[in-house]
Every structure is written in C-alpha cells, then in structure tokens.
Amino acid sequence: MQNQFLGVTRLLAVTSALLSAAALPGAIVLPSQAQDAAACASYTEAPQLKAQVDAGTLPPAAERLPLEPLVIQPAEGKGVYGGQFIDSWGGGNLADIRQFGYEPLVRWSVDGSQVVPGIAKSWEISDDAKTYTFHLREGMKWSDGHPFTADDILFWWDRVENNVKVITGGPRNEYKVDGEIPVVTKVNDYAVSFSWSKPNGLFLQQMAGPYGQRAVQFPKHYLEQFDIDLNPEGVAELMAAAGATDYAAWWKGNVGSYNDPSQFNDPKRPSIHAWVGTDSILGKERVTFVRNPYYFAVDPSCQQLPYIDERVWASAAEPEVTLLQAIQGQITMSPRNVSIPQNRAVFFDNQAAGDYRLVPAASCDYNTAVLAFSVNHPDPIKAQVFSSKDFRAGISQAINRQEIIDTVYLGQGEPFQPAPLPNSPFYNETMARQFTEFDLAAAAEHLDKILPMGPDGVRLGPDGKPFAFSVEINADFKPDTVDAFQLIERTWKQAGLNVTINHHSDELFGAARSKPDSDGSVWVGENGCGQLPLLNLSRFMNDYGGWSLGNWNGWAAWDRKRLDPNAELPEGWEVIEPPANVQRLYELRSLIPQTIGEEQTALMQEFTNLQAEEFLTIGIAMPAGFYRSVKNNLHNVPAELIEGWLYPGPAPSNFASYYFQ
C-alpha cells in the first residue's frame, strides 16, 4: 500500500513538470535545451553498420549524418548498441505513433513542458505571429541516402495535403487559422515558411503533436512515381497490375496519409524514423524493423542513434493474451491497453517472474468520463431541462465520486469535472472541483427548481408529467464507465431521477450517440495536461470534430453562421441561439488561436471562468494509476512516462536512446 502511495506522489510530482509555457511566439527562438549542435570531430556507429562501411556498401557515419545532427540527451546515460525491442500490436495500425516513433518537424520535450527541435533544427516566428519559418538540417538524409530538403515538405503540402485526388479531406484544422490555410513557401533548400493573414498563436504546439508528423513522411523523389499527375502511365500500369480502379483508394492502400497503415507497408519507401521496415507489414503476424543507417540523431558522446538494433511487432489481438505475454516478460514494454489500474496487481505480482519493472505513466486525460446532455434536444421539455444549469448541478451532486474511485479505480484519482488538469497553467479550481461533493440534499435543492418531486418519489418535468431520460455508454471502449454508471444509476434513483443507462457495443455506440434525440452520452476527456488545453478548446465546447455527445447541433449551427453567414449547414441542423455566456465561449474558441502571449493567457482565463460558470458537461474523476511494464535490462527509460494523444506518449521519451544491458 505504501509502495503504491509513493508511486502516486511521484507521479504527481512529475506531471507538474508539464507546467511551464511552451516557446511563445513573437520572438526568434533559439532553443535552449541541450539538444543543440554537438561538437563532434567524428561519429561512432553501430557495429552492424561498421561492417557495411568497411565493405564499402555504406558511406561512413559522418557522411550519413546531417552537419548538425539532433543531440538527444539520454535519460540515464550513454548506451550500448544491440538488442531487440519487442512490442505487441493489434495487427492493424502501426502508424499509431504513440508506440512506434515520434519524429515530427518540432517535438515536445520529454517532460512535455516545451516545444524543442526535431527534424527542424530551429525556427523563427515573425513578431506578428503570422509567419513561421522552420530551418531544416543541412545534409540530413532519408533512409535510402537521398537528401531531405524543403522540397519534400512542399511535395507533402502540394501533392498530398492539398491534392483533391487523394484521400486527405484537405488540410486539417490544425494547420489553419480561423479556417484559413497557410501559404507554404520554400525559402531555400533548408528553410520552409508557413504564413497566414492572421496571427497563429498555436502553430508550434500543433506541429509538435501527431499532425506535425505528416509534413515529414513524404519523400518526393520516391513518391513521385505514385502520383497520377506526375506519372500517369506508371500509375496506370501499377493500378492495372493491382486490379485497382479507383485512384484515391489505390493511393490510400499504397501510399497513405499520416495514419494509414499502408505508409509502413512498403519496405522500399524511405523514412526518417530510427527504424525502417524490412518487409510489408499488412496481414503479417510478426514484423521486424531494423535501424535506419541515416537516422539524424546522436547522443552527447557522438554515437549515432538508435542504440537498439531491431524493433519487432508481434500481433496479439486479444488483450488477455497480451497481458499474459507481458507478465511472462516476452514484451519489452507493455502496451497501453493492458497497462491499466485494474491490472496493476497482476503486473506487480509477476515482476520477478517476468523480469520487468513498473514505470509510472501519467495520463493526460482530464477525466475518466465526460457526460454531456442534449442541450438542443428536439423535445422542447427535454431541451429546457438539459440546458438548465440547475439540472446539471443536481445531477453532478447526486454522483458518489469517491465510491466510484474506491471501487472502480482502486482508489486511484480524485473527484474531478471536465477541466484542465492541475499541472496545466490553465487549471481553474472552480471549473475542476465544483459540484463534485456527493450531497443528495444539495442535489435535491438544485433539481427541485427544474424537476419538482412527484407524488411517488419520481421527479416531474416542467410540464408536470413524469420525466425520464437515458444515457448512452460505449461498453467496449472503456469498460470502467460501465461499472461507474452502475453506481451512478443507483444514486440518481435515490435522487428521484428516472434514468435508463443504455450500454452499446463499440460498433453501435456511434449511431446511438449521434441520434438527434439521444438524451446524453459519455466519452473520455483527452488532452488536459500542460499546454494541451489550448489545443483542445473544441472538446471543452463538446465539439469532437464531426460529432458531439448528445445533440448540440443547434448551437454549433449558430456558431457556423456567426463565422460565415453563408455557411451551409449539414442536414437536420437548425440554428438555435445559445445563452450569452456560451456565445462568448464560441467566440473565444476562435479568438484564442489567433492571439499570443499574455493576451492569449487572459482569454484562456476568461474561457475557463465562463466554462466554470456555465458548467456545460459533467465529469467523474481525474485518471490516475497508469504505468508500463518495462524489461529490467532496458535502460534510458524516463523515471516517469506521460500518456496522451496530442502529447503522443510514450513516444516523445525517445525510443532511439533506449538501450539493453
């Protein structure tokens, strides 16, 4: 017990490192982290490459590395070459960079506190924050030895991101300001600039996230042959050979954009990752990646990275099998899906047998479950009730969060609303903690104002008729929400609420959630640590990009018309004017990304204050108790890892610097 307690405090201590502000725009940034140029007279390389160099089949290390390689500070110290890192995967999407590798243009530092150089060695942001210029590393090469230059980034922008003939859906919102896409210009062979007509206050952080990966994974010299405009005859031949008729579908299956598994399926395709494929991966049970001889990073003692020779991906679709393999010590680092608080005891008991240790992994999720009600429900009575803050406050106070934490989350975590985490500069005490006390009397007081108690102990709607509602849950995604809502259902009934909890399988949840007349539904809250809430305003507005929990379409429609009176609304949407505070929240959502520095911080403050006042969504607990099993002979793993999506942990912890001894 004491052991676990220590683990938790240590974990909190480290996540607070996520506090400090990322490099703010408005000035030339000279990254101060020790990832600056190493003064190396010569470079050491892995023994397996040395043989090839001696045989003359590979140029020497100094010619393979850029003039200024990225210097990665190892977590413990200098490593030794060799070994095999074995991962378990579901067999589908290796492109999930959270486990494979993280090599965006710029990257989050290991502790997540700031943006540091990655493929770009430095960057400049114009004083008005309208232009970002990234400087690439002269002499950097793709894994086939071909130079990596600004042309590769422009190829991505022109021939992939903005190419309507392939499937990308156009540039993602992460690259836009207020809907405007940037002008991307080649300054010279080793510099690219992105500029907008409005200031972009978040571009650097966006590029450090998963979407910054897209810019650097399209080697022009290789992929030109798959572009139907640049090589019409060749593509026609390839498509005929594959029996394909649709170019977009064929491209997706052979080239693929940033999250398509196909981008790892062509072993000939050059890459900038530390390990490169030896064979196609799709349909395989076990695949091997070997070191990239041109990987652009070194350790402080001028040894070329990565240290580890090979990464092996072994398919295991069933989590129970993965769990067994992990505790048997067959997997170098346990995957996220089995490294959950509920399995902690099993992992703990088998540490000696499996020869591994447990490394805490703090979650960036800001809540274990976020409950949102249909404020724009087609039934006016329900819309009135769900839009009422009294209803939401009463509902929230009728949840016994401590009981849920004790029984479902094994005592890990604390009661919390959907809000930035305490380690974030945007933490707001009221937003995070209000209405989290289990207090049926206070709940009744709130509920009585909108749902008076009926004669038989069941509350009546504003129309005097018995009021019933339901909540949709995805039972497959996070089984813990099922357990939590069984407890919630009980206390809600004590408060006189007639509620039905509907459990859905993964496949059917989407349909249930997006029904216009669904009452309310539950999802997890992601990206709440450090700087991430800045990039995550839409989630706090219950806009998950194409879908929301419960029906908020009326308000979203109002927001679209506000931004562009000529905007076309999706079928079935009708403008509903939100209350003044919510209108301001929508405005802030578009303003914050266009501001920088103190102004941005002040607007964020206003945003969280208004969120606290409106109390739009309801949460349960701050997630805690995550960890990874790590083989005892694996070194340079940080003492604490971070899990997340926009911070794609644990990949930013630099797998290339891990080594076996």
Binding site: T168, G169, N173, D246, E285, V287, V312, A317, E320, L324
Partner: protein
C-alpha cells in the same frame, strides 16, 4: 448411386446463391459502414477524421453506392475472376488475407476431427461392449465433463496451466521465430508442438457427444438376431463386432460428422480469439466489428460453402455406407 449424386449436387447450386446473398446482406444492412467504424476507432485513440476525409474515403471504396450494386460488384468478381474484393482495414486484397488463415483453420479443424475419432470411436465401442463396468463409468464421467465445460473456459484454463505449470509460450500456433517464416520441416514441427492444445480444447465436447452416439447405437445393435446368428456360426468375437454392429452403429455418426465440423469451425472462433490463434475466427470477428464488408462477406461465404460441401460429402458418404439411403425418394 449416379442419379443420387447428381440430384444431390444440383441442390447445392441454389443454396450457394442464397448463401452468397445472405453473406453480403448480413454485413451491409446494419447501420453504419467501415468509414464510421474507422472514425470511431480513431476517436478511441484521440484522433479525429474530418468529415470531408470520411466522405472521400466512402466514395473511394464505393460505400456510397446502393447495396445491390455493391453486392453485384463483389459477387461477380468472386465468380468471374476469383477476386474476393478488397479488405479496407488490411489495405490488401481479401484473398491475400484469407487463404493463409483458411489453411490453418482447416489444419486445426481436421486435427480436432481426427482427435475426436481416435479418442471417441474406441471409447464408444468399449463403453458399449463393457457397459456399466468401471471403465464405462469413468469414460462417461469424463465425457460429460468435456461436454459440460465451455470451450473458451477450457481454453483459458489450459492456457493458464500451460503458462503457470509448464512455462509455455502461450498465444498463437507458432513460436515467435516461426510466425512469419516460410514453410519448412522445422516450422511444421513447431506447428505440431503448438497444435495439440487447441486441438484438445476443440475436440473435448465433440469427443463426448460422439462417445454417447456410438455407445447408444452399438448397444442397440449388439443384441439383434443377426449378431447372435453370426456368433452361432462360430465367428470370432472381435471380427464379428467390427464387421456388423460397429458398421451399423457408425451410420448416425457419419451423418452427424458435418455438424461436428461446423461446430469446430464456428466454436473455434471463440477458442481462437482466447488463445490468439491465426485461424479465420478472430479475423472474421474483426471484419464484422470493423464492418470490413468484402472481407466479412467473403469469410462467411467461404465458411458457408465449406458447410454446404461438407453436408454434400457426408450425404454421399452415407449413401455409400448405407445402400438404403440411395434408393429412398426414387
């Protein structure tokens, strides 16, 4: 015999057409499609697929066409070109994904079937001949136990024992170094070393029911006058047993063979998922869950065809075994 076979084979054709249509509709009719599922899966990992990208994907895969058009495109490809369509989630032609898996499924199913025969037929005969003996009771008890314990539970328990007691490498049909290796003698040996566990798990319930079938039938036959007559003529007890009553007793066993095969193939899904086997089961379930239409439909089609052909086969075998069948229904 000839006309019986012909008639029986002709019946197969409409069955196959119906099966192909149902295979496709089963996956096409439920709400949502592969792109919805993809979006949902990405959402579970934190990512968001923009609506424009979803629509473009849907159009590229032809998921925006009417269902019957999609069916026709798929089935005409299957029949005319042997092309089973495209697996969206694997980004591969369906046949590239299915064939290797189908091979292992057949190996496992046939192995389980052989296990059942080897175990159940001798035990069934023994139990019938020595009924109410200690051996009969012991086998009967074991048989009922095998029938009563669900396969997936047995699989979980067997895996735990293999892991905790023998320290075996659980999950899969191969050791790590052989998973993607080309076929070789060493790989076959490795397969055999891993095959026995799922084989026993899958075979237990089948064994139990076959023991009961043979025991009951043989007990009926043993006291028929022809047995007494043969014995009176001085025939050896073992030869007599094998030549007449056992052959009769096998009749319902043969006709039930296909059911057992279907049980193994379908019941095998859960066992394969639990044990992480590279057979068709987990892939089919996955294809259904992700609404990977062509793959799911092709799988269901292939397994259904196997069942149809298996039924045909057992009917023909029965007709050969028991002449009465051939002459019924003129």
């Amino acid at each position: 015999m000839g006309s019986f076979m012909l008639r029986r084979i002709i019946y197969v054709i409409p069955a196959l057409i119906a099966v192909s249509l149902i295979s496709f509709l089963v996956i096409a009719i439920p709400p949502g499609d592969y792109v919805d599922r993809l979006a949902e899966l990405r959402a579970a990992s934190g990512d968001v697929i923009p609506l424009a990208e979803q629509q473009a994907t849907r159009a590229a895969y032809g998921l925006d066409l009417p269902i019957m058009v999609q069916y026709w495109d798929w089935i005409s490809g299957v029949v005319l070109r042997g092309d089973f369509g495209y697996s969206f989630s694997f980004n591969l032609p369906v046949k590239d994904v299915i064939w290797p898996r189908l091979g292992l499924t057949v190996v496992l199913s046939v192995a389980s079937l052989l296990f059942i025969w080897v175990m159940a037929i001798p035990i069934g005969i023994y139990s019938a001949v020595r009924r109410y003996s200690a051996g009969d009771y012991a086998f009967t008890f074991l048989g009922f136990l095998g029938l009563a314990v669900p396969n997936f539970l047995l699989a979980l328990a067997a895996m735990y024992v293999a892991f905790a007691v023998f320290g075996m490498n659980v999950g899969g049909l191969f050791s790590p170094e052989f998973v993607e290796a080309p076929w070789s003698w060493a790989r076959v040996v490795d397969l055999l070393q891993h095959l026995w566990l799922p084989m026993v798990v899958l075979g237990t319930s089948g064994t139990a029911s076959v023991i009961r079938i043979i025991r009951a039938n043989l007990m009926d036959e043993l006291h028929k006058p022809y047995v007494t007559a043969a014995r009176a003529k001085g025939m050896g007890e073992f030869g007599l047993l094998m030549k007449y009553p056992v052959r009769h007793a096998l009749n319902p066993f043969v006709s039930g063979q296909n059911d057992i095969f279907v049980d193994i193939v379908s019941g095998g899904t859960i066992v394969a998922i639990v044990m992480g086997l590279q057979t068709t089961g987990p892939l089919l379930l996955d294809a259904l869950r992700t609404q990977d239409m062509h793959m799911a439909a092709s799988f269901i089609l292939m397994l259904s065809v196997l069942v149809v052909i298996g039924t045909l086969f057992s009917d023909l075998l029965l007709a050969w075994l028991d002449p009465r069948i051939r002459y019924q229904q003129g």
